[in-house]
Structures are given as C-alpha cells and as structure tokens.
Symmetry: C2
Subunit: 190 residues, 2 copies
C-alpha cells in the first residue's frame, strides 16, 4: 500500500483544489472531494483531518525540513548561512511540476479570510519553531528570533515571486535572492 | 452624546471580557453583553460590528498611530529611530490603568485558535501598513519591510513583557528595550 500513498494524497489534493475553484471552498464537501478523486471517505481521513487540512498539510513537512537543516548546518555557519541552508532544504516542496497546483492553492486561500488567517498562524508556528532551533545552536534569544523572522520573510517573499504569473525561475534561487536582499538591508538597522 | 462615548465603549468592552471569561467566548451573545453593560443592542452596534470586534477594535488605532509617527519622524531619523517613535506613539494605548483589561483580553484570545488567527492577521496588516509608510520615506523595499518586521517584533515582545504577571514597568520602556535588543541582534545578520 505504501508505494501508492503519495499518488492518492496528490489525487485528493488535486480533486479538492479543482472543486474549491469551481464551487467555492465553503460549499465543497469531503464527499464531493472523495467522489472526484475516486476514493472512499475513509481513505480521505487517513490523509487529512478535514477539508481545510488539504490546503495546509504541507506545513508540517515545511517545519521539519527547516528544523533539520538548521540543526544540521555546520557549527561555523553564520545565522544567514544557516537560514540559507533551511531555504535550500524546503525547496524540495516547490519543484517546477508543482507550480500550477500551488498557484491554485494560493488563489483559494487569497479568496477566503479564514484561510488567510490559518495560513498566517501556521507560518507563525514555523517561525517560532525555527527560532527555537536557532536558539539550540547557541544564538542569543534576540538573534535567534530575528534570524527566524528574516528566514520566514525570505521564505514568503521567494514564494510570492515563485508563484507570480510570469515567473519561470526555481524557488530555491528566488528564496536565496530574497534572503540576500534582507541580509544587505539588515546593515541599515544596526 | 459625544462626551459619553469613550465611557460606553469601555463599559461594553469590560462587560464582554467579563462574560467571555465566565461563559467562554463562543457561548456569549451580544444580547448578554448589552444587558450586562446596561445599553441597547443598537448602541452596541454603533461601536462594534460584532462581538469579535470588541476584542480587535483597537487595532485600527494602532495602525493609525504607527503610520502618523512614521510619517512625522524627522527626515534625518534612522530606520530604528523611526520605529522607536512609532513605539512611543502607540504606548498611549497601553497606560497602566488598562493593564488588567488587556491581560483579560489576551487570556480570552490565548484560549481560542480562531481569535489567535484573527490577531495574527490584524498584526500582519499593521506590519504591511508600516512597511508602506517606511517606503514612503524613501527607504528601499527590503529595508522598509525588514524595519517594519523588526518594529512589529519589538511591539509584540514589549507587549508580552508588559502583560507578564510580575511586570510593573511601563509599556513604552519595554518596547524600546525590545527594539534595542533587535537593533543589536541585527549586527549578527549583515
């Protein structure tokens, strides 16, 4: 069974995004999603707690990839280098072949205030987790917190540029570029 | 009528916070709030769009105070000095006599995920507005964005320290201190 899982998950995700776009997020039911994906409701609930989680399940992987990269960065790495490693690590979630799916997801979220709020809460959680992982590396509290915020801002800026209609550059490159802009900008603060 | 307004608003706020604490946010109705405050429902809706807004109506004042201070700061002010002026300006919202009320409000929000999400969205909006006001001063995009994030982080850090159970220092002092920590921390980034 294991080898089919990613496929089922993706089919459910695609079906949900299609239906959210066609009928609106609010009026789409789990039954409609499973019918379109050709799986049972029981299968749906093996992957997602509810229909909202179809949109947000990726955030746990995001948190984990960031944390692992932060913990695994060389001891000599500067805070910005640690964040750069984190951004490289999470870029596996944004391969070119997922770009259209991700664009659709963002359009659904942009149309719904509750979903925007949920996205912000998830991102705030990721930022807090990153700050803790940076603190574990021995960075003083304010440096860990600021580095996490900068990493988070580079992440969202790179992401916004990646899903922009006319973009064809890879996520990792855009996120790195945003991080470099923020690194340069930070000189204006101290 | 005008001279009684702040009083009515505050009475409604206090009644709502008491009821949210006693019965839970979800199960409290606007009718119960107006009954406790001794005003009509029509009066309630002159001040607040719904019961949730009793908790969040202060955020527009926050945005306005930050923006005015950013626009009014001397041309020669550094980004951090501009943010310091903003934090001083918003401190009028957090006088010592409001501390208990604000603590109660935060306890209600901390107990409810939807309210936490709403608070994050409101704060994200304030940060975006600040970044735009900083951009208007001629700061390059990434500097304006980073300065706004740092200001926002100083704001929330100062706020968390102000409402901490054992605190008796004024908000402005705590926010300034948090900003100074972040200014020093930013040197580790560039």
């Amino acid at each position: 069974m294991g080898r089919w899982e990613p496929n089922t998950r993706q089919r459910l995700e695609l079906a949900a995004l299609e239906l959210f776009a066609e009928r609106g997020y609010e009026s789409t039911t789990v039954a409609e999603i499973t019918e379109r994906a050709g799986v049972t409701k029981r299968t749906f609930f093996r992957y997602f707690a509810d229909k909202r989680e179809v949109l947000f399940s990726g955030q746990e992987a995001l948190s984990q990839l960031f944390t692992d990269a932060i913990e695994g960065a060389p001891e000599s790495a500067t805070p910005i280098e640690v964040m750069a490693a984190g951004l490289d690590a999470v870029s596996v979630l944004f391969p070119p072949e997922r770009l259209e799916l991700v664009r659709r997801r963002q359009a659904i979220i942009a149309a719904n205030t509750d979903l925007q709020e949920r996205e912000l809460l998830k991102l705030a959680t990721v930022t807090t987790v990153m700050a803790a992982a940076l603190g574990e590396r021995g960075l003083p509290g304010p440096v860990a917190r600021l580095t996490a915020e900068v990493g988070s801002l580079a992440f969202t800026t790179g992401f916004a540029r990646w899903i922009a209609p006319d973009n064809n550059r890879p996520y990792a490159e855009l996120a790195r570029e945003a991080l470099e802009e923020l690194r340069v900008a930070s000189a204006a603060l101290s």
